[in-house]
Amino acid sequence: MIERTPILNVATHLILVVGLAIAFVPMWLVFVAASLTIQEINTPPISLIPGNQLLVNLAEAWNRAGLGDKLLNSLFVAVMVASGKIFIASLTAFAIVFFRFPGRMLVFWMIFVTLMLPLEVRIVPTYAVAANALAPAQAVLEITGIAWLWRMLTGVELALEWNLLNSYTGLVLPLVATATGTFLFRQFYLTIPAEIVEAARMDGAGPLRFLRDMLIPLSKTNMAALFTIMFIYAWNQYLWPILVTTDRVNYGTAVMELKRLIPTAAATGGGTPDWNVAMAGCLIVMLPPLVVVALMQRYFVRGLIGADK
């Protein structure tokens, strides 16, 4: 579309440049901070021009937090959360939108409600569940009397235990148990014209074939979008990983190490305020999600535009 709107075009660029400034200035300061010495960073006013200590600080942060292993852990957890989420959410949304079964809306609301309660407010009981993920199942067996029956029949005490602490499963599963993706897929499935479904049924396609041949190809961009979101969501977690991994050497993630790099000056602690190293660590930890966004964005946005043309 070619229109001559020179004034509006200038205004458009101005507006977008303001947007760029909003996005970049804070992170520029992080970058600058990561390149200063400890004296420089503790001497106000804060410098706007980078110093020459960037590599030194990066190396220090890398070694101090053992970031090599931690980055791999984070990567694995983030990929598993994102994939698990896509798998589970697309199945659930499929069932809710395209099937009728008793309790369908109940299940939908049951899952939807999980959007609303943050992990923070139920962290202690969730931790107890992670220590033994089968505790709820055990309780159900006790209450229904199945456990008693089992004891009577076999003479063996029924004690289910599945410890998730210090494991990748423990890091991943609770993050998958939310509604984000389900909601997204449901919204998308609802926009699929009835004619397509009718056509599939005319062809005699069963539900699973419909899922495989129609829905999944149509959902590719949604899946890519969800993958990006969940990857970043999982990568940026820090409260849950800190709780569930006490064995930081083997299961620590990058962001929780970042938190450890940040000096806390409690009255009685008083760590060295080496924010330059913390900022350098921050840069390293920030990088992988940025790479994912950069890579996925092309696919994600082009896919959306492509669908239009």
Partner: protein
Amino acid sequence: MENRAYFRTVWLGIALVVPQALLVLTFFYWPTGAALFWAFTLEQPWGGGSQFVGFDNFVAIFEDSYYWSSVVRSLIFAVAASLLAMGIALTMALFCDRQLRGYAYYRTALVWPFAVAAPAAAVAFRYVFAPEAGVFSALNQIYPNLWNPAMNGNHAMIMIIIAYAWKYVAYNFIFFLAGLQAIPRALVEAGAIDGAGVLRRMRDIQLPLLTPTFFFLLVINLTDSFVDSFGIIDITTEGGPAKATTLMVYKIYFDGFKGLDYSGAAAQSIVLMLLVIGLTVVQFRYVERKIHYK
């Protein structure tokens, strides 16, 4: 939406929801149930025992004027942060979607803050808004205390709203831009042929068609601002000065996990949960209507 039920294989439908239902029961409802139980008891933090106290915990929080002010602050924060993040994102998306020269660069550059971890963003904003070191230091030298989030609660509130909204601008931008690009070009072109200018087309064609996206994002933004503000607050203000930025979720965290008052925190989280559920249900019904009956 009832007429959408096309497959009648009941067992398959059930089988497909089982994985998520199990996960949600185990990692969400079971722990939430435990929290609910605590809300009606006085729980000893180290697990030494608990006693049933009925609604005492709720009475205690409702009688506490500080609790009510945390509710009010949460609402202010939710509305302000959501509108700010969505407003900027919508503006950027609308103008970016004009696809002038440099479009791809703008698009890329506006999206990436979405990937920055909240602790990192919070730390960055601590620097930006520090009264003596950041961008305000020069102004503060001329007019002392013109900007001081450490002393002035309103300044602190503005700071956390901006720090929080910063990340969500990118998030909203992604969805708005996607929404705009899902609008058939033909519609916009038809508008142009009818003689509608750029701004007019934005107002009369693009904005109305963005309504579903807008409401979807509003739900997400409001609920997230209630629960996701925690990281920002913890790193920038820790709820201060003098509780000026103690939102509901931060108070729950502080009372429960720092103050070791699990029961009081559990009661508060039940209230927060009801509040957010209520808001979402209202919005959700509204969204449904917008999409299907308008």
